[in-house]
Structure formats: structure tokens, C-alpha cells
């Protein structure tokens, strides 16, 4: 059976478009490579959905879980799908204080993503600059920076974060500081490795011959060419920052109870779990898993697409 002519034409146009696109811009080629994996595309849309939920949490949540005037203690520990005292249906149940779990999860997602992305962004900036500086200037500066990196990488992230938080105390700012301290070294190592290769390329010689300042050479010429590996490491590290924050909050070391992230919600549910009230812990955990998994799946496909060794 032949397809109707208009679809066939559309398909042809599409094919031709794709071929032209590959010749046209690197971004189009990247897009075509990335969409080769169906799972990665699904993960991307899931992540966008998660991001939107987090951003618009105050507008889309059924209730404001932290407005004490609207939370009824009578509604506490209701199983999923039950109806509350004021006729509202709690699709994911309520927690020990009578808060709607769905709303709490949306707000928690907001905190978790904010902390993870902010910490990841700061760590990327600091770590990236250090890596570029180490590779570009070499010598003593390079030795010093890389010694610090090696030292840092000798200790597991959670250990350093725990010690820091034990010393600093709780708070959004403090957990972001701890995550940055834990993560910068990964970016430094990655950027330095690719910058060392790029430094000897001809365009770098040309830029230096033009007598451009160090700043311009490093950030306008060297940095853009070191970006692909940085992006890959960045996705994985943001996922790991979110997971680490959740773990620390679960241990009671991370965020204060006034700004509950997903980790804290899970910890709160822990107390009710042995009596069979599973939903208080399970649903925030699933939200956390979906977030981390989607970012990791995107990162995995990015690694394949951006890896110069595998480039066609």
C-alpha cells in the first residue's frame, strides 16, 4: 500500500530538510543527533514538564501547603484519593499535619530544583574559570589548582558536605555553599583537560598573535571550544546536586523545615511508614526519581552526541 501523495511529499520534504540541515548549522546537526534516541527525547520533555511544575508551583498547586490558615489538622494522614473536610480531594493523600501531598511535592520540587541548579551554576562558573586558568597559564598556577582538585576528589562528596553542614548549620545558602565546595573540582578537571588540547590549536595561536588580552583569549576563544564536555558534566552534576541535597536534607543536615525540599518530605514520611502510611514517603521519592532520572538520561545522550571521539 502506498502512502497518500501528500504524506509522501511531506516525508520527502522532511528528509531533504534534514539533509540540508546537517550541512547547515552545527545546532541543527546536534538536534538531529540528539533526537536519534527516543528515550532521550522523552526524558527531555519530562524534564521540561518537571521544570514547569516547579516554576509555577504556587499557581498550579491545589492548596498552599505552608499557609497555616488553610491547613486542617483534621485532614491529617488521609490516604490518596480521599476527600478532605472542606470537600477538596487529596489525590496523593495528606501528611501528618494535614497538608496536601501533591501541593507539598510541587513546592518541594521547586526548592530542590532551585538549590540544585543554583549550586550547579555557581560550581560550573567557579570550576570552569579555574580550569581555564590552570590550562592557559600552566606552571605554578596549574600545579596549585590541580593539587587542590586532586585533594578534593580524594574525599567522597557526601562526606565533605556533611562536615561542612555540621559546621555551618542549616539553611538554603549554606547547602548551596556546601554543594559548590563539593562540585567545583569536577568542572575544573573537565575544562582543564579539554583546554589543554585546545590551547595548542592554530586559532589560539592566531588569537595570541593578534595581541588580544589574556581575558579575551581565554573567554572569547578558548572557552567556547571547551563547552561541549562542560555541558555534559554539568547535566550529570546538577542531577547529583539534587540527589545530594535530598540526601542531606533527609539526614536533617540540609534545609530548615520551613523550606521543605523533596528530601525533607521523604524524611517526614519515614516516621509514618512503619505503620503502613506509605504515601507520605513514596510520592516525593517518585518525584525525585523522575527528576534525577530525566536529567541523567539527557546527560547520557548528550555525552554520546557531543563526544568528539564518536563524531561522524
Amino acid at each position: 500500500m502506498t502512502p497518500p501523495p501528500d504524506i509522501a511529499v511531506a516525508a520527502n520534504v522532511f528528509d531533504a530538510g534534514e539533509q540540508r540541515a546537517e550541512a547547515q548549522t552545527p545546532f541543527r546537526r546536534f538536534l538531529a543527533d540528539f533526537t536519534e534516541s527516543k528515550i532521550a527525547v522523552v526524558a527531555f520533555f519530562v524534564f521540561v514538564a518537571v521544570l514547569l511544575c516547579a516554576m509555577f508551583a504556587p499557581w498550579i498547586s491545589p492548596t498552599d501547603p505552608y499557609d497555616l490558615s488553610k491547613v486542617d489538622i483534621i485532614d491529617n494522614r488521609l490516604p490518596p484519593g480521599s476527600e478532605g473536610i472542606d470537600g477538596l480531594t487529596y489525590w496523593l493523600g495528606t501528611d501528618g499535619a494535614g497538608r496536601d501531598m501533591l501541593s507539598a511535592i510541587l513546592y518541594g520540587l521547586r526548592t530542590s530544583l532551585f538549590v540544585g541548579v543554583t549550586a550547579g551554576g555557581i560550581a560550573l562558573t567557579i570550576g570552569g574559570v579555574l580550569g581555564l586558568v590552570a590550562a592557559y597559564f600552566g606552571g605554578f598556577i596549574d600545579t596549585l589548582i590541580m593539587r587542590l582538585v586532586d585533594f578534593k576528589l580524594g574525599f567522597p562528596s557526601i562526606l565533605i558536605a556533611m562536615i561542612l553542614l555540621a559546621v555551618l548549620g542549616k539553611g538554603v545558602d549554606k547547602i548551596i555553599i556546601s554543594l559548590v565546595v563539593v562540585q567545583w573540582a569536577y568542572y575544573t578537571r573537565t575544562v582543564r583537560a579539554s583546554a589543554l588540547v585546545e590551547r595548542n590549536r592554530e586559532y589560539m595561536e592566531a588569537a595570541q598573535c593578534l595581541a588580544l588580552g589574556h581575558f579575551s583569549v581565554v573567554f572569547r576563544h578558548l572557552l567556547p571550544n571547551c563547552l561541549p564536555p562542560l555541558i555534559v558534566v554539568g547535566t550529570v552534576q546538577i542531577a547529583s546536586a539534587i540527589a545530594l541535597e535530598a540526601t542531606l536534607s533527609f539526614l536533617g543536615l540540609g534545609l530548615p523545615t520551613t523550606e521543605p525540599s523533596l528530601g525533607l518530605l521523604i524524611a517526614n514520611g519515614f516516621d509514618y511508614m512503619l505503620s503502613g502510611r506509605y504515601w507520605i514517603s513514596i510520592f516525593p521519592g517518585i518525584a525525585l526519581l523522575i527528576t534525577i532520572l530525566s536529567i541523567n538520561l539527557i546527560g547520557d545522550q548528550l555525552r554520546d552526541v557531543l563526544n568528539p571521539r564518536l563524531q561522524k
Partner: protein, 329 residues
């Protein structure tokens, strides 16, 4: 070569000493900023006089630099002061908890190796097969799953719903050379299973991916092609030639992985009420039991410095291509 190794070790030891000294400064001074433990530990009814006595008892009334020198002098002798809570030397408390943590970490490590390496080799040799892809996909889920949440789920399934395995504590232990071990009794083993699975999940996924990447690189190398061309059995090529060459990167991360298992053990120990060092740390942080927190930090840093040094030395022994003087730089 022997001389070089000695010089390398001495240099590393000196560096480590500087690091440990700097750390005592940072930890001691910053931990004195976060709160006064006396406020938590004394009777709320306590008046000014009894408050002063409590401060004096703990040595907290003296100037902070004096407290530091006392601390340093004692620390060199392995004495970090008595725990505020139960008046036992902090070092003793930690050493007492060490076997439980080590046991959990070692058992989790065994699970990691027994599952991680074969699964990684399997999927590395058949990267395009459905089973290979399934293993790869499983590993992404494995390291995306938050460990503490997995622990909770395992408790719900195996302890609450199925009532198969216990969810808290260490169970029966057997004393071997003065150390209590729960691996040797059936009851102890049943207590160990859930925490160890929880702890090993992330690390198994990681070792799996590392092994797989190693295998995929090694199978393309000339000497493997030559081994096949020579007519060696496929099994021999895989288990001797491939395995030998992927072991180098795997062994080097194993040291770090073991350290990671000990560190992440803190989370697992908290969930399963496993009486190890990690649970002690979290409990001590929550009640501001300073001597225990400081002793734990110093102990774990020394432990990691030792592990890292051993890994570097082992690396150079395993892989003659790595020159030891290159590592010092």
C-alpha cells in the same frame, strides 16, 4: 625504583600532615561558632551558677585559643576529649562503632563486585544486544535512584508488607578476636542484607558502567584482535586478556569506592538504625556533641589519606606504565 617509592611516600606523608593540621584549625574553630552544647545538655531548670559549673566542667569557659592548644596536645595522643553525652572518650566511641561500619561497607563492596563486574563485561561485549542495553538502562536507573529512598522502599516491601527481613539494628553477633561480627549468624546476616543492598546499588551501577566502558575500549585494541587471530578460545580471551586489562581502572576506583561506601554508609546506617560510626556522627551533630564530631572528622580524614596513598602505590604496582614520580606532580 625502591628509593623513588620511599621519597614519594615520605613527601605524601608530609603533605598529609600539613593537611591534617590545617583541618584541626578549621574544624575546631568553626565548630565553636555554631552553638553552645551546654544549652542543649543541661537541665532547663538550671540557674546561672550551675550553668557556669557545666561550662567549667567541659572546659568551655577558657579562651578559645587555649582550648585549641589543649585540644591539639591531646589530639596528638589520640585523645579528642570525652563525649559530652555519655562521658566516654570520643575516640573509644568511634573505634567501638568501627567494626559495624566496616562490615556493612565490605559486604556492600562484595555485592558491588560480584554483580557489577560480570554485568559490565556482559554488556560491554554485547553493547547492541537487548540484554546489554537492558543492563545499561538499569545502571542509569541505578545511579539515579536516591539511595535513602531505596532503603525506605526496601523496608516497606520486605519488612512491612512481606515481613521477611528485619529493618532495624544489627541482630545477633559473634565475637571474633574481640570484634563483634554479624556476618556469621543467620540472624545477623538477615539484618545485613537490606542495608547492604541499599548501600551497594549506586556503586554497583557505577562499577558496571566503568567495566563496560573498559571492555568496549579493550576489545578494539590490537593485542585482543591478535589473540583472536591466534585461535585462542573466546572464553580465554575474555577472561584472561580482556579482564586483566580492564582491572587497572576498576581497581583504582575501588579504593575510592570503598571510601565512598564508608561515607554513604552514614545514610544507610541512619535509615536502618545500624549501630555504626555514621549513625554516631549524625546523632552527635544533632546534639552538638563536639568531641565526637571532631574525632569523627579527624579519624575519617586520616582514613581517607591512608586509602588514597595505598591506591596510588597499588596503581603503580599494577600498571608499570604509571611512573611513580609522575604521580607526585
Amino acid at each position: 625504583m625502591g628509593g623513588e617509592v620511599t621519597v614519594f611516600i615520605i613527601r605524601r606523608l608530609m603533605q598529609s600532615a600539613v593537611v591534617v593540621f590545617a583541618l584541626t584549625l578549621v574544624v575546631f574553630f568553626s565548630i565553636n561558632i555554631i552553638g553552645n552544647p551546654v544549652d542543649i545538655l543541661i537541665d532547663p531548670e538550671c540557674d546561672q551558677e550551675c550553668y557556669r559549673k557545666a561550662m567549667e566542667n567541659f572546659g568551655l569557659d577558657r579562651p578559645i585559643h587555649e582550648q585549641y592548644f589543649v585540644f591539639l596536645e591531646n589530639a596528638v595522643q589520640g585523645d579528642f576529649g570525652d563525649s559530652f553525652l555519655n562521658k566516654i572518650p570520643a575516640t573509644e566511641l568511634i573505634v567501638e562503632r568501627l567494626p559495624a561500619s566496616l562490615e556493612l561497607a565490605i559486604f556492600a563492596m562484595l555485592i558491588t563486585l560480584v554483580i557489577g563486574i560480570p554485568a559490565g563485561m556482559w554488556s560491554g561485549l554485547r553493547p547492541e544486544s537487548p540484554s546489554g542495553k537492558l543492563i545499561m538502562g538499569g545502571s542509569i536507573v541505578g545511579f539515579s535512584l536516591p539511595g535513602f529512598w531505596v532503603g525506605l522502599m526496601l523496608i516497606i516491601i520486605f519488612s512491612v508488607e512481606l515481613d521477611l527481613l528485619p529493618s532495624t539494628g544489627r541482630g545477633e553477633t559473634v565475637e571474633v578476636l574481640g570484634i563483634r561480627i554479624s556476618l556469621l549468624t543467620l540472624n545477623g546476616l538477615s539484618h545485613l542484607v537490606l542495608p547492604a543492598i541499599t548501600l551497594s546499588l549506586y556503586h554497583t551501577a557505577l562499577i558496571m558502567r566503568l567495566t563496560r566502558a573498559g571492555v568496549r575500549e579493550v576489545v578494539l585494541v590490537d593485542f585482543i584482535k591478535f589473540a583472536h587471530a591466534k585461535g585462542l578460545a573466546a572464553r580465554r580471551v575474555v577472561f584472561v586478556h580482556v579482564l586483566k586489562n580492564i582491572l587497572i581502572p576498576v581497581v583504582t576506583v575501588l579504593g575510592l569506592e570503598f571510601g565512598g561506601l564508608l561515607a554513604y554508609g552514614v545514610v544507610t546506617e541512619t535509615i536502618f538504625a545500624w549501630p555504626g560510626m555514621g549513625k554516631l556522627l549524625i546523632d552527635s551533630i544533632n546534639i552538638l556533641d563536639r568531641p565526637v564530631v571532631v574525632a569523627y572528622v579527624m579519624f575519617i580524614v586520616l582514613l581517607f589519606i591512608t586509602i588514597n596513598l595505598l591506591v596510588d602505590i597499588l596503581y603503580s604496582v599494577l600498571d608499570p606504565r604509571v611512573r611513580i614520580e609522575g604521580m607526585g606532580k
